[in-house]
């Protein structure tokens, strides 16, 4: 069981206060089929401050080809929410874990049951990318009372008046969407990522983490000059889809850590 106690938000704020830039890598629950849970403790040892655990969903509309493929492989091999949570519960990364899935997984299980099952698995927070501010209420209340922090996304398309309302409701951190598009690697860091980070830093003291399109150590370092940290997903998963081992994925996270530590 995860030895981490406390909240994701306090943890990230105290890491930030110690001068660290925050690193949040992503793991697809059930990919690679053999050894995916090793990524959890491995990423923590490589310097992750927290991490996202994807619970694969059949119709991931916010995801590009890489995460889609990993999810599809996991699902084809029998990955399901209960199974993922059971296996996560047997790991002890010592850092906060964040479930990342689509709303129907939570809706179908029932808000309270889903929130409590996250808690029991040693998970601190949840990201549901198809559940925007206007629809988040019923879930967020159930999550709040179960002690699960609901992380909201802020996107470059949001008008200025919208951002403060999102920032107000988010827990753990504010997830700034780095570009107008789905998850996936890009050759260069989008200018929208820096702009998003600036807009969010201007209005909140909550940790500002940028994800989607952050593709390599140098891009991570670049955006971390403005943001408090990064989520990196496709770049990690792609390495394994191309035949890289779990250890190589962990090594890549260590490279991201080193790049962030140089900022």
């Amino acid at each position: 069981m995860n030895g981490f106690t406390g909240t994701l938000e306090e943890h990230l704020i105290s890491r930030r206060a110690s001068g660290a830039k925050l690193l949040l890598p992503y793991v697809t629950g059930g990919y690679p089929v053999d050894g995916w849970t090793r990524l959890i403790e491995g990423f923590a040892q490589a310097g992750a401050d927290a991490m996202e655990i994807g619970i694969p969903f059949s119709d991931p509309v916010m995801d590009g080809p890489t995460i889609q493929e990993a999810s599809a492989i996991a699902l084809a091999n029998g990955s399901n929410p209960s199974g993922v949570l059971d296996e996560v519960a047997r790991t002890d990364p010592g850092v906060p874990l964040i479930a990342m899935t689509y709303y129907n997984v939570a809706y179908h299980m029932g808000h309270q049951r889903f929130a409590e099952s996250l808690k029991r698995a040693g998970i601190s927070a949840a990201i549901l990318p198809d559940l925007p501010l206007e629809e988040v209420g019923p879930w967020a209340e159930a999550a709040d009372s179960a002690g699960i922090e609901t992380v909201l996304l802020a996107a470059p398309t949001a008008p200025d008046e919208r951002l403060p309302r999102i920032v107000e409701r988010t827990r753990g951190f504010i997830y700034g969407v780095g570009l107008v598009g789905t998850t996936g690697e890009r050759a260069a860091l989008a200018s929208s990522a820096l702009e998003m980070a600036r807009r969010l830093k201007d209005i909140t003291d909550k940790p500002v983490i940028i994800g989607i399109g952050v593709s390599n150590p140098s891009q991570a370092a670049e955006i971390a000059q403005v943001a408090d940290g990064v989520v990196v997903a496709s770049a990690i998963i792609r390495r394994m889809l191309e035949g890289g081992s779990v250890d190589q994925a962990i090594e890549f996270v260590a490279e991201l850590r080193a790049a962030l530590d140089s900022v």
């Binding site: 699902l75 129907n104 398309t157 999102i166 969407v177 598009g181």
Partner: protein, 403 residues
Amino acid sequence: MSSAGADRPIMGEPDASGRFGQFGGRFVPETLVPACAELEAAFREARADPDFVAKFKALLTDYAGRPSVVTECHNLSAHLGFKVLLKREDLNHTGSHKINNVLGQALLAKRMGKTRLVAETGAGQHGVATATAAALMGMECVVFMGEVDVKRQALNVFRMNLLGAEVRTAMSGSRTLKDAVNEAMRYWVAAVADTYYLLGSVMGPHPYPWMVREFHHVIGEEAREQCQALIGGPPDVVVACIGGGSNAAGIFSGFVDLETELVGVEPAGGAAIGRKVPGVVHGSLSYLMQDEFGQVQEAHSVSAGLDYPGVGPEHAHLADIGRARYEAVTDTEVLDAFQLLSRTEGIIPALEPAHGLAWMVKAKDELQGRTVLLSLSGRGDKDVEQVQAILDGNPEALKTMRS
């Protein structure tokens, strides 16, 4: 367009959150929330603008060929023992009801200053209609179509290409309509600034279910007047097939304030309402075929246009309050109905509306002595090759059909 509202509470406007009863809403990635809000505002403005309404009406009459006629089927009526009327959406330009919604939305897209249309398609009818409107209005057009459908509706792919649209094959998941919607939404997420997502049915995030129904309201509005002229009043029963539910919503909306019984017919392998399990996918809360973990299941239907695991939220609501009833028919029953209409009336229907007729054949006993209006949502040209292969016992065709 109707001025539905307080005077027509059932099938009026959804509430501020885009809900019909408990169903609907706007469950989209944050990136798309402002685009949905912008679309809602633009639609509200457009439908109140006489100039927009006039332009839309002119396109429907001068381009799509409306009004579509209502045909009384004397032979089929004699065969079944009750009076059968057909609302002939198959006679519209491009061969189905889809053109109504497409012309409305394309006009709106243009008004909003968008330069590109993106759409999903199952049978290809919505894709063809969208490509048609794009050609007419001088807009770019990208259509996503599942790989399975690209194969069984190859001619429609060629038609879209002829019309200047780019057809992209959706290779993920079940490779049918559901996955084409996923791909279209992903495309929209990335290109939202200049691209208009022209959704093809009464599904998706608010305002689509409402807006698409309003653009199809003309079907029901015309049919009501035509029935008055033809039989002196409304029919006893209105029947329509349900994929997402747009032709059904359009025709139902013309009769919902009367005593008329409303019947939606789903394919047995895609009966979202039949199973009554609510869920969220593609932007709204509705009934949804899913497994014990909430993973969306793949629908299976001989008809590409109904091969969808969800249903428009307003239909879930109409089922919930008992205002409409929803039935299911099998592929075999549909193939029989397809041939029956061809032989008795000289009208080859699309496989989708053949579902409606299949139910009427099945429910023949309870329909005796009544008058039944069927939404003949499209013509069968696109399906004849597939049906020929099935009837010839071609195992390959059966595989495509059930895979």
